[in-house]
């Protein structure tokens, strides 16, 4: 069992938890993820590591309440325990040789982008962060990004905070103005990452993306997290859990990945509603 040491609501739909898991805290690097189960009957869900405190032995996770499992997780309180917590899984972000980086985070993806931005900052790279949200109510981690970025641009889709528009707008302006990034790293919804890649393409700037497909074991056994890369015109199957989660954005078949991500939508909606009703009655 793994204890919830701290819990904090970042906005009405996004929660941060610090979980006691010393072995994971000791090893996890930015870009890696964990898999958890809330209780004994629960499903296994992957969440990217949002930070660690190896001294205390805790791992920070940030999740959006989108389905039954995250709803159940959000119902757990500080001091309570969850059944399983395993990791760190996947490969960490590759930081070598990167002197100037642009981190593009979308929505709850910003929670994953933050430790990566912090790591580049710690390594002495020049960090530009562009973080985008639908609206001011959903804004998270602004202060944290400010602390590790040489330049921070906050975007909102509805203009309720920061600049009006999506994250590709300032990225395109910077690239057009002749900014040279060693790497643009996009982390967020599939469609956001897809358009970040398209924005980068005319400028030939390297662009990596962090994929978050449906997973079960997360250790290279089930193959559920497979996605397709297109390399030299050939389609190659890769597994996000052991080959990723970060991939060369120019190679990823986003449309396929987004379609696969919706495989269980009707089921998930139903399960979420049922769990909601259960909690309402309780």
């Amino acid at each position: 069992m793994y204890k919830i040491v701290r819990k904090k609501e970042l906005n009405p739909t996004v929660t941060q938890m610090e979980i006691l898991a010393p072995l994971v805290a000791n090893k996890a690097l930015p870009g890696q993820f964990i898999i958890l189960r809330v209780d004994d009957e629960g499903e296994r869900i992957p969440l990217t590591v949002a930070g660690t405190d190896p001294k205390e032995g805790t791992v920070k996770i940030i999740f959006q309440i989108v389905g039954e499992t995250t709803l159940r997780l959000n119902h757990k309180q500080e001091g309570e325990e969850i059944a399983d917590f395993v990791g760190p899984l996947g490969r960490p972000t590759e930081t070598e040789g990167i002197k100037k980086v642009c981190i593009v985070g979308g929505g709850v993806g910003c929670a994953i982008a933050l430790p990566v931005a912090e790591e580049f900052h710690r390594l002495g790279a020049e960090v530009t962060s562009i973080i985008g949200f639908r609206s001011i109510d959903l804004l998270i981690l602004e202060d944290e990004f400010k602390a590790c970025s040489d330049r921070l641009i906050v975007m909102s889709d509805d203009g309720s905070y920061g600049r009006h528009g999506n994250v590709t707008v300032p990225l395109k302006e910077m690239l057009e103005a002749g900014e040279k990034f060693d790497l643009v790293l996009a982390i967020g919804p599939g469609v956001m990452m897809k358009f970040t890649v398209l924005t980068c393409k005319p400028f030939g700037v390297p662009c990596r993306v962090s994929m978050n497909p449906i997973m079960i074991d997360g250790t290279g056994m089930c193959g559920g997290c497979r996605l397709t890369l297109v390399r030299d015109g050939k389609r190659i199957t890769k597994f996000a859990c052991v080959d990723g989660p970060e991939f060369d954005g120019y190679e990823v078949d986003f449309d396929e990945a987004m379609s696969r991500g919706r495989m269980y939508f009707p089921y998930e909606r139903h399960a979420y509603d049922e769990a909601c009703n259960l909690f309402k009655q309780a």
């Binding site: 189960r37 250790t219 056994m221 193959g223 497979r226 052991v242």
Partner: protein, 469 residues
């Protein structure tokens, strides 16, 4: 008394009934059947059956105890060399191992050794009281990577010798393929749990949620004071056919399909882990895993399940018994056929159509058997112009796995072959001192009992290695 020339049949659930439930298919011998079957054993001098058993169970020895109605005594004979009798009695391919060597089998049907083993193990689990006794510790620490058949066997053998054994398992539950792969109707999970419990009584630590190669490395295990490590990390990533359409929603690897149903209990009503079920299901492949996937799909409520296999029934690698069970239950065998493309739904009028991107069928080509290949199996050759379409709502691909890279990538000096399997000598020793390996991580996908045999060999070698230290 005249000997019964035929093996006593295994009482089973009726096919029409069992096709709709996940309860165990084979019900097990009654006491009378067990005694009658045991009476068929000639207790011959040269005991060829023992040599046919990968873990060399004293087969006539335990059967003689059954004859005497000393079932606990029979269990103790088996338990001397096998850690998982209730499992082996169910999933071992006895027909190609012990029973294929049986002297009775020369003229008649061989003795039902597997069925007797199962009877004895089930009798013990139902009747034995008292816990397994942990022996006096010998002061040595051994780490086991993976709680599957090879790891559990290795752990059991070493624990019985007084070693302090810790198992590290990546998943949340111990058992490996016995819990994620083999379905409930062939191997009830309560039986696996019981075997794991027995190991714990022997003093074995079972640490779930630890991925060796990620959470800890093999080098860190040595730093933590373990003097030897056994790697039984199992088969790895599923193979795909690399044909168009494998990304469509509703295409599963057998590992994923079975893991969802078995480990994550998607077969129960109102599961937390979803699975696609119902409609028409096509399973590609002809091994035991393909049979398990097909029979699982049927029980989940599919209206039609078929197996697509590129060779003929004769070459089908699954156990005969599993194939017969599948046929009785109504699984359709589409033999000498090979998929060329998986077809998906696409409504050009409406990009938001919910069905878009889901499987709708499979294009297959008919095959004929040509010249034998280097293994002597006749190579299937496509018949030009014979392609046609099958309807499908779900496709399960069961064509094998490739080794998992996590341990190889994080263990310096660990030699692997060109398929990625860990290289070992006849004792299970790898290219690293003190590191042993066995099971699918070495051989690629094989059987539970061969993995157990490898775990056993490695346990003996580890004992010898550490006794000298």
């Amino acid at each position: 008394m005249a000997l019964n020339p035929k093996k006593n049949a295994m009482p089973s659930q009726e096919p029409q009934v069992r096709a709709h439930n996940f309860n165990e298919v084979a019900l097990g011998y009654t006491r009378e059947l067990a005694l009658d079957e045991a009476a068929r054993c000639l207790n011959c001098k040269n005991k060829p059956c023992v040599a046919g058993c990968p873990v060399n169970i004293d087969i006539p020895g335990f059967i003689m105890k059954v004859k005497e109605e000393d079932f606990e005594g029979a269990y103790q004979v088996i338990n001397k060399t096998s850690s998982l009798p209730a499992v082996c009695g169910r999933v071992c391919p006895q027909e190609t191992q012990c029973e294929s060597k049986c002297t009775m089998g020369i003229k008649f049907e061989p003795v039902g050794i597997g069925r007797l083993e199962r009877y004895v193990a089930d009798w013990h689990n139902a009747n034995a009281t008292g816990k397994a006794q942990a022996p006096a510790p010998n002061g040595h620490k051994v780490a086991i990577v993976g709680a599957g058949p090879s790891g559990l066997t290795c752990a059991g053998d070493l624990a019985k010798k007084g070693y302090h054994v810790s198992i590290f398992e990546a998943l949340h539950k111990a058992g490996g393929v016995l819990v994620y792969g083999i379905p409930e109707f062939r191997l009830p999970k309560a039986i696996v749990a019981k075997e794991v419990e027995t190991l714990k009584e022997l003093g074995v630590d079972v640490n779930t949620n630890v991925v060796i190669g990620k959470t800890l490395t093999i080098d860190e295990l040595f730093e933590a004071g373990y003097e030897a490590v056994f790697v039984g990390s199992g088969a790895g990533l599923p193979n795909f056919m690399n044909i168009p359409g494998e990304h469509f929603k509703g295409v599963y690897s057998a590992n994923e399909f079975l893991t969802r149903s078995n480990l994550m209990k998607a077969y129960l009503d109102d599961p937390r882990t979803p699975i696609m079920k119902g409609g028409k299901v096509i399973v590609v492949g002809g091994g035991n895993v393909a049979m398990d996937a097909a029979r699982t799909a049927l029980r989940l409520g599919a209206e039609e399940v078929s197996i697509v296999y590129r060779r003929s029934m004769e070459e089908l690698p699954a156990r005969r018994e599993e194939v017969e069970h599948a046929e009785e239950e109504g699984i359709v065998f589409r033999l000498l056929q090979n998929p060329v493309e998986i077809l998906g739904f696409n409504n050009p009028e409406n990009p938001r159509d919910e069905r878009n991107g889901f499987v709708r069928g499979m294009r297959v080509i008919k095959m004929e058997l040509g010249e034998p290949d280097e293994k002597g199996r006749r190579r299937p050759v496509p018949i030009p112009g014979s392609e046609y379409e099958l309807e499908a709502d779900t496709v399960v691909i069961a064509i094998g796995t490739s080794p998992n890279p996590l341990i190889k990538d994080t263990t310096k000096g660990l030699e692997v072959n060109r398929h990625g399997g860990i290289v070992v000598n006849e004792d299970g020793l790898t290219s690293r001192e003190g590191v042993y390996a066995g099971g699918d991580a070495v051989t690629g996908a094989a059987t539970v009992i061969s993995a157990m045999g490898a775990g056993k060999v490695a346990a003996a070698a580890i004992d010898e290695y550490l006794s000298k230290k």
